[in-house]
């Protein structure tokens, strides 16, 4: 579906020299030899800190941007994205979380009709597809509302329809959940899963929301400073990042932090947080077994409840970024 090899992109930017009218020419490397393949039907999470090259990659794959001429190769749907723009974009769908594909002043329904015509979807097929998407995304309440008057959640659902009216085998979602409230986020995730199962749509998802990634992506690509740092499953990413595990304890009685620290320190446990009735401890999963850790942890305490788990994804990613000095 997607085949990328040694893809590079360098921008030329002009920086004003302070106090002078002259400008300095700078070459900025956005992508520095990226390679990966995506098979049909995959959902791939594409993550990395701001400025890592995520958007640049999406823009190249969707045909908006040309990569550096003398480097690498890139095939999407068997096509070079920047060679025949119109043919290429007819086979992909793109949703930008912060921009709209819809006509601001038109009711969403009319935008869909317009897009259907633009993608040359036969009217009957377009109607049928729209009816199904409409049901799946529950658009009935606002399909005749002008886009400008919609809430962000409503608009995002319409954006998805707009990107799917031509039933593309490949869908790019660029920060689709940005700014959405919790129910909208969950509805969005459910829809993405449905779409992937039902239609076998390949989905490339860039986001900063690690819960999205955890819920959706069976495979994660991590990019930083224009280089691909990791390519694998979420579980592998965890192992890669650290083997840190967590014990979260609800306390029946308050505890003294200094005393606890003196107890845990030599026994391989670390206090992550202690707030009134909640204590979070961390330990190295490769040094201690879970049962050992629990035994050590509860000894100085009156315990109301206890749970064991991995490091939260957000922290894991932050640790990973820190390790790669991103």
């Amino acid at each position: 579906m997607i085949h990328v090899e040694q893809l590079s992109k360098t921008y030329t930017v002009y920086k004003r020299i302070p106090g002078s009218l002259r400008r300095q020419r700078l070459a900025v490397t956005a992508l520095d030899g990226i390679s990966f393949n995506v098979s049909p039907g995959e959902i791939v999470g594409y993550i990395g800190p701001n400025g890592a090259g995520k958007s640049t990659t999406i823009k190249i794959l969707s045909g908006i941007l040309h990569p550096d001429r003398d480097h690498g190769s890139c095939l999407v749907n068997g096509r070079v994205p920047w060679k025949n723009r119109q043919a290429h974009v007819a086979g992909i769908g793109v949703v930008f979380g912060q921009r709209t594909q819809l006509w601001w002043d038109l009711p969403a329904g009319e935008s869909f009709g317009l897009l259907g015509d633009m993608y040359r979807v036969p009217p009957a097929l377009s109607r049928e597809r729209l009816a199904r998407l409409r049901r799946e995304l529950d658009l009935d309440g606002f399909i005749d509302t002008p886009v400008r008057q919609m809430s962000l959640g409503q608009r995002m659902r319409c954006e998805l329809v707009a990107a799917l009216i031509h039933n593309p085998p490949l869908l790019f979602l660029d920060e689709p959940s940005i700014g959405l409230d919790a129910p909208s986020k969950i509805a969005l995730r459910d829809f993405i899963v449905w779409l992937n199962r039902q239609h076998g749509t390949t989905i490339i998802l860039t986001t900063h929301d690690m819960d999205d990634i955890e819920a959706l992506a069976r495979r994660v690509l991590l990019i930083g400073k224009g280089r691909l740092l990791f390519d694998g499953s979420m579980a592998e990413l965890r192992r890669e990042a650290s083997d840190e595990k967590r014990v979260t304890i609800d306390l029946a009685e308050p505890a003294d932090e200094a005393a606890l620290r003196a107890w845990y320190g030599p026994r391989g446990l670390r206090i992550v947080a202690l707030r009134e009735h909640r204590l979070v401890l961390a330990y190295d999963g490769s040094a201690l077994a879970g049962t050992e850790a629990i035994a050590v942890a509860v000894q100085p305490l009156k315990v109301a409840d206890l749970s064991l788990g991995g490091q939260p994804v957000e922290e894991l990613i932050a640790a990973l970024y820190a390790r790669h000095k991103l």
Binding site: K59, G63, I64, Q86, V89, V94, R99, L114, M118
Partner: protein, 275 residues
Amino acid sequence: MKLAASLRHSLFMYRRLAGLSIQSQLRYRSSLLLSIVSQFLIIGVEFLALYLMFQRFRSFMGWSLPEMAVLYGLVNTCFALADALAYGFDQMGPLLKNGNFDRLLLRPLPLLVQLLGMEVTIRRAGRLLLGISTFGWGLSGLLPTIQLGAPALALLLAATVAGTLVFLLIFLVQAACTFVTIEGLEFMNAFSYGGQQAASHPLLGYRRAIQVLFTGFIPIGACIYLPLCLILGRVGLPGLPAWAHAAGPLAVLPFGAFALALWHLGVCRYSSAGG
């Protein structure tokens, strides 16, 4: 065959987009009407000025007021049409600044069709009305003396189409330059509005450099003024044979090639620099 289908699709989509834009503008009828009247008024004083200058000087390079009105009306008609169609070109600055140009690149329709289809600005009808009415008024004053046979009418039509295209292409050049400058290009107004101003008067009255500029480089004069001279039986430019007057509208072709090449260059630059 594929080309023909693609052209048909483009045309169909243009009609669809333009129709929607007109429909949505018609939603605010009273303000639209006022805008049209306003523009009529603003440009109307321009024609009033021309009329008053005739009161003082009696003729312009041998041209009578009705003859001037025909030229003035035709140029303004072409300009008004181009101005109404070129809304999308005018929006290139904002499109590039807020990243919405990417959105156009993601759709399977030629960029120019998408830009042209963005809006057909009805507000510009004020100038159109003025152009048509001054043209009509001038022509009705001349009809007893000039003959309007089928060839003359065909030439007039060619002049109108070519003139509109030239103005449209000037706006396209302006849009292409936006890829480099991002900010709007006021200096191009010298050629769009300035060209309209200049072409509203017989080219015969200008110094050589301006005559060359508006026939050879930005061929507004070649497309509108020269054929009109042939119809009115006037000397267009000294030393120019009659066939060159009739062939004037063809000058839009090389200019169009130039403008399209420049636009293509701009798009390539955008997709390698990434805005």
